[in-house]
């Protein structure tokens, strides 16, 4: 599933903004004379997800990647910008479903698995008779590698990986064409993670699904995606084809991320670790938000916000230095 440059977009986000009001309660604000406090969780980001492909959003905690997932699925209303879904199978906009991170929290412990999986069918009135619903549920459970008889059990009877399979079955119940997966394997052990990732790849090939994949794990992202967008403090700092991004990371933050992942194959035991941590999104630094941690920051970086520029290879980068290098090379 590589080389999707020509594929038409299944989903487009344009200048998406999400601001949360995290002010203290009204009375405290009045007494302490504090202003309202706003948190820019997602700050002017644009991206497209290719039809039948997989775009991954990576970044550290607090960078806004989960907020993007929730905006796309409509669990949050955007404060600005546009979300556009391409027409799906029957002309109506693409249908979306979501897989959540924690399979221990996303399944109702009091419901039998068959009812959990059937809920979207009943709720959206997709099938009429209970016979049809039972058949469909059994088929779904088998699709995700469980047996039809597992429908009678409760979630606590399953292991983490099996529960994640149940939540995938539930997400597939309404036959969506677009799945938003928010860290679907980060609560799982590696051997089980491999099972779930393999299943997701298989389903993508068989059902022609489009994925928006949210993760903090670069190796998982590399395995799953065609394109990767790297987020830092609410902005996309770099977006490009998976192979290109790994072979030739342009943004200093992408390079930092790639350097600091512990590598099992070639461990780097004497690494020199760059200092610094992600600043609070409540008080983001001026200019390029990465400049206090950036090893190659120049004067402009603390003053101007870098624009996202598209390079020749299709990679989009928001960095003054890269911009200047490109301008220099063109001269």
């Amino acid at each position: 599933m590589t080389g999707t440059g020509q594929k038409k977009p299944a989903f487009t986000a344009e200048r998406l903004v999400k601001t949360f009001d995290v002010s203290a309660p009204w009375l405290s604000r009045v007494i302490e004379r504090k202003p309202r406090q706003l948190l820019q969780a997602v700050n002017d980001i644009s991206f497209t997800v290719p039809a039948g492909g997989c775009l991954s959003i990576v970044g550290e905690s607090g960078c806004g990647k989960s907020t993007v997932a929730r905006l796309v699925t409509g669990l949050h209303r955007p404060s600005g910008g546009e979300l556009r879904f391409a027409p799906g199978r029957n002309g109506a906009p693409l249908s979306v479903q979501m897989i959540f991170q924690d399979p221990y929290a996303s399944l109702n412990p009091r419901w039998r698995v068959k009812n959990i999986v059937a809920e979207p069918l009943r709720e959206m009135k997709l099938l009429k008779t209970s016979v049809e619903i039972t058949e469909r549920v059994e088929e779904l459970l088998e699709t995700v590698g469980l047996s039809a008889s597992d429908g009678e059990k409760y979630p606590h009877e399953f292991s983490g990986g099996q529960r994640q399979r149940i939540s995938i079955a539930r997400a597939l119940a309404s036959e969506p064409e677009f799945l938003v997966c928010d860290e679907p394997t980060s609560a799982l052990d590696v051997s089980v993670q491999a099972q779930v990732l393999n299943l997701m790849r298989k389903l993508q090939d068989e059902l022609g699904l489009t994925y928006l994949f949210i993760s903090h794990d670069m190796s998982v992202v590399r395995h799953m995606s065609d394109r990767i967008a790297v987020m830092y403090l609410g902005r996309i700092v770099e977006e490009g084809d998976t192979e290109e991004l790994f072979a030739n990371p342009r943004h200093p933050y992408t390079r930092l991320l790639l350097q600091t992942i512990p590598n099992v194959q070639q461990p780097n035991r004497d690494r020199v670790v760059g200092g610094g941590e992600v600043p609070s999104p409540l008080k983001p630094p001026s200019g390029c938000t990465f400049h206090p941690r950036c090893p190659v920051a120049i004067g402009r970086c603390s003053a101007e916000v870098p624009e996202v520029r598209t390079l020749s290879g299709g990679t989009r980068v928001a960095c003054h230095l890269v911009e200047e290098q490109v301008a220099h090379a063109a001269r």
């Binding site: 983490g160 590696v190 051997s191 089980v192 491999a194 190796s219 790639l258 194959q265 670790v273 760059g274």
Partner: protein, 328 residues
């Protein structure tokens, strides 16, 4: 590991931990033996429920009732500690054994300044005056890489970021210069760039202070970068132990090999990840013979009948009948 090396700081011999329950007794740990030398990091890996944290808790005497040590011995600096009473153990924890837990926010008291918490630990174990303890606290914060420690010592935990908090927890664990530090998933709650900082800090402190470190984690990447030797656990047993390169890249146990193969590679992309089918058995339903046999690709008749013990394999040991010579 040659015989010429100095005596291990920690020796665990055939440790068995049991939890009696309504439906019979469950063995959370069976026959676990390991040792750690001064200045050495032993990585303990395994899936959740494999018993890696349990091993750390048992060594510290922190097992929750009704769990108890039902067999085996734990020796710390040639002193047997598993038979000590609570009062004696309390003197050992902090003084001889330092602990670093996963979540730095829950291991610090939000109501006291970092300095007060460090000072308390220092004065509890070392004979120091208040001002001496404060000076030592500042020194410790500096050692773990916290900028302007003389100011930060008066701050509360919430004024620190996640990575800085974990540094404070490490300072707290090292406050009384313990011989052994048990770090239970010290980087799991942190971001990758911060994780790298904490790993290199742990490595530096371990080598400088000649502390024995037991690093419990599920992350093979962390093990590859931090540990000197690795112990792999599965269903409450130690199934393989050896030098980090051997265990990770030339393992003689099918489980370790499968685990390594199931990690998505950073270098190249494969169409399909190698997966180990099934999941780890529950502790009350461990199959006969080798606990891994239902998931093992090279299973033989002997694996279903007999429990393999750790057998020498290369520079380490592995509990698999494939290493017993001949076939399984």
């Amino acid at each position: 590991m040659g015989e010429t090396m100095d005596q291990p700081i920690l020796e665990v011999r055939n440790l068995t931990v049991e939890f009696p329950g309504r439906h019979g007794t469950v063995a959370a740990l069976s026959d676990v033996s390991l040792d750690i030398r001064a200045g050495e990091i032993l990585g303990v890996v395994g899936e959740s429920g494999a018993g890696k944290s349990m091993t750390g808790l048992a060594i510290q005497g922190l097992l929750e009732r009704p769990g108890h040590i039902s067999g085996g011995e734990i020796w710390l600096e040639k002193r047997r500690i598993d038979t000590l009473d609570d009062y004696e153990m309390e003197k050992i924890r902090g003084r001889k054994i330092g602990a670093i837990f996963q979540d730095p926010l829950t291991s610090l008291n939000p109501l006291f300044t970092v300095g007060a918490q460090l000072g308390e630990t220092i004065r509890q174990h070392l004979n120091m005056s208040k001002s001496q303890a404060k000076a030592r606290a500042i020194e410790l914060l500096g050692e773990v890489g916290i900028p302007s420690p003389d100011e930060r010592v008066n701050h509360y935990p919430h004024q620190f970021s996640g990575g800085m908090r974990q540094r404070v927890v490490i300072a707290l664990a090292l406050a009384a210069a313990p011989k052994l530090v048990i770090a239970d998933e010290p980087t799991t709650a942190l971001d990758v760039s911060i994780q790298a900082q904490i790993i290199s800090l742990l490595r530096r402190l371990c080598k400088e202070k000649r502390t024995a470190v037991m690093l419990v984690t599920h992350d093979m990447g962390v093990i590859a970068e931090a540990a000197d030797r690795v112990a792999v656990m599965y269903a409450g047993r130690l199934i393989e132990v050896g030098p980090v390169n051997q265990v990770l890249h030339a393992s003689s146990h099918p489980y370790t090999r499968g685990l390594m193969a199931s990690i998505p590679a950073l270098a190249a992309r494969v169409e399909r990840l190698n997966q180990i089918d099934g999941s780890m058995p529950r502790l009350d339903a461990i199959p006969d013979g080798c606990a891994f046999n239902p998931r093992c690709k090279s299973v033989g008749p002997r694996c279903i009948r007999e429990q393999p013990e750790l057998m020498p394999a290369g520079d380490g040991a592995s509990a698999c009948w494939l290493n017993a010579g001949g076939t399984a």
